[in-house]
Symmetry: C2
Subunit: 337 residues, 2 copies
DNA sequence: GTTTAGCACTCTACAGTTGAGAGTGCTAAC
DNA sequence: GTTAGCACTCTCAACTGTAGAGTGCTAAAC
């Protein structure tokens, strides 16, 4: 075998052995496990070279080698063969996700729970980000003499409500007027366009009505903001107990908005993000495997698991890929009512 | 001083010193800190007695004493003077809770965040349990040709929505019929009474209509179930990093339903629950300080902090009591629209 | 030029030892 | 009932020695 090819094989074997055992891998272990036809001295030379080039490190002088983040990256990019989830596995995943799932939120929580169970990692699922979605319909529901609820239905299936109060008496007639007026203005508008200037311009266009509308307009804007907000479901907190990176990850979880933003920033495809490649320092020693689910065939929310660098990347990728496509299927069914 | 009174004083002093320093308290330290007018030998005799009666323990032969759970309990019941939060403190709490609080959920999340900040403990806030509350109003909003959304407004101010589909075409007229029919049946009914038998009986009473109603009825029941469900907001996960009980508490947090149930089971007043007094084993080495907030003057949800047994109980009680009443005020304002 | 055997070297992990310091329980006297 | 004095116990931290694992280097073999 060519020296170059052998080195690649040695690196893969070290990653795989280290992932399995957690022990630094020495030259002798490597020969017996990888079935190499060379002596330990040769392997040592190759390992020294790989160390020099930054793919491996030695915890201390007399220890075996451990992959660096660069080592894992090389392994994931060049030496990984992902075997898709079996047909039975896929059915199991699909059925588990659908269990008692009467809303998209439920499906996503199911997904996080399931991923934790299948991967033994903390898992996340985000709601679809609303950046691309538009207002499908606005309705009003009376809730009291001076209060009502605005209901916004977005094109990605998300429904948000917001209460508001008025000085004047709210009658069914007024709500009908609101309904007609606001649907005319908002229908088809992108959620991201609904900001203060937008509602001010809208209000100005209503003549007499504009005196009655402000609180309703603000309620619609608030509902739109809520619909754009990404919320995050997670599962597997308990796994952090005793985990080496547990403290860091807890710090990461502390701030909901950071978590949402970090997950949103993940690639649009199934992907592995290793250590410092992550946008948050708290994840500098963790690996994130993620997949997007799609709604109406465009990337929507993300499923992800966070675990140690030392993880079975092939398995994780297979599971996430499958879960992602199952979630897509389920949500698309639910939404196109 | 009477020996009995002195022992009580010694126990309190040990609790307070241990809470402050975290170090087992020896007889000499005790004399200098509690200003006792007896010798260390006398104190040692008293400590030996308190140890025998289960109020103190020695981590090892040559160490000072540490309070047992029984010791803490005695201290909390007999030696604690709670000084109410100052007027300024109260205003600060009240204002912080109200910040950007446009829904009860927001107020509760604010409360959890604030409690974490003030107490350096993980904090929880539960939504009002719906056991006592009744249906105030039901509305329907069309969302598509064959789908609509049921909106249930409960007497405790909670609003829940549920989508449903029908085989037949949904027109505004049909929804008006639904609206009238279902408000007649459900208005004033306790949420806990809305179960399968109830909706079956209800459906039976509608004659011809009953063919159209089932999915709407089920949607109302589902919304009612959602409204009864207690959800839990929490804050301070990051504090678990490096905490001695962190692992246990993470395990406790793992299951949302257990958390909700445990919190619901806490006393109706401001209270301290110490170690094994808690209903969950994971909290056997933690203390929970809790307060109920009230809606319409009856106990609704709970605010709680979970921390080490070794905590400043007086301060915690003061803060929780204050936060509880501030949340009550705020929510009552929001709800009686 | 590449590969190999052999050997000296380095480092860790673990177990055992030691001495200082803290705090106790007991006893005899007040 | 309280106190002084003293022997005793236990922890903690620092230090030591040893076994084991794995390396890097060198000189010889392919």
């Amino acid at each position: 075998m060519e020296p170059a090819a052998r080195k690649k094989r040695i690196l893969s074997a070290i990653v795989e052995s280290y992932v399995k055992t957690g022990e630094p891998v020495g030259s002798k272990t490597l020969i017996s496990e990888a079935g190499l036809k060379v002596s330990s001295a040769t392997v040592r030379n190759d390992m020294a070279d790989l160390t020099e080039r930054g793919y491996l490190v030695q915890p201390h002088t007399s220890a075996g080698r451990v992959p660096t983040q660069r080592g894992y990256r090389f392994y994931v990019d060049n030496a990984l063969t992902v075997k898709p989830v079996s047909e039975q596995g896929r059915m199991y995943i699909s059925e588990t996700l659908a269990q008692g799932a009467d809303s998209p939120e439920n499906v996503l929580q199911n997904a996080a729970n399931l991923l934790t169970r299948l991967t033994d990692c903390i898992a996340f699922a985000t709601t679809p980000n609303g950046e691309e979605s538009r207002v499908r319909k606005i309705s009003f529901v009376p809730t009291g003499a001076h209060s009502a609820m605005a209901v916004l239905i977005a094109s990605n299936g998300v429904i948000k409500t917001k209460l508001f109060r008025c000085e004047f008496l709210i009658t069914p007639e007024i709500l009908t007027v609101f309904d007609n007026a606001l649907n005319e203005v908002f229908a088809g508008v992108r959620l991201s366009a609904i900001n203060r200037p937008f509602i001010q311009t809208a209000a100005a266009g209503f003549g007499d009505l504009s005196l009655l509308l402000p609180s309703a307009l603000i309620a619609v804007k608030d509902a739109s903001d809520l619909a754009r907000e990404v919320s995050v479901y997670h599962s597997g907190l308990g796994l952090l107990a005793g985990d080496a990176q547990g403290d860091r990850i807890l710090t990461f979880l502390q701030n909901r908005h950071d978590v949402a933003a970090t997950l949103e920033r993940l690639p649009l495809d199934t992907a592995v993000t290793i250590g410092r490649e992550n946008s948050r320092v708290e994840l500098a020693y963790s690996a994130v495997v993620s997949a997007r689910y799609r709604i109406d065939n465009s990337p929507a929310g993300v499923l992800a698991v966070v675990g140690p660098l030392r993880m079975d990347y092939a398995k994780m990728l297979a599971v996430l890929d499958c879960a992602g496509s199952c979630v897509s299927e389920l949500l698309n069914e639910m939404i196109d009512v």
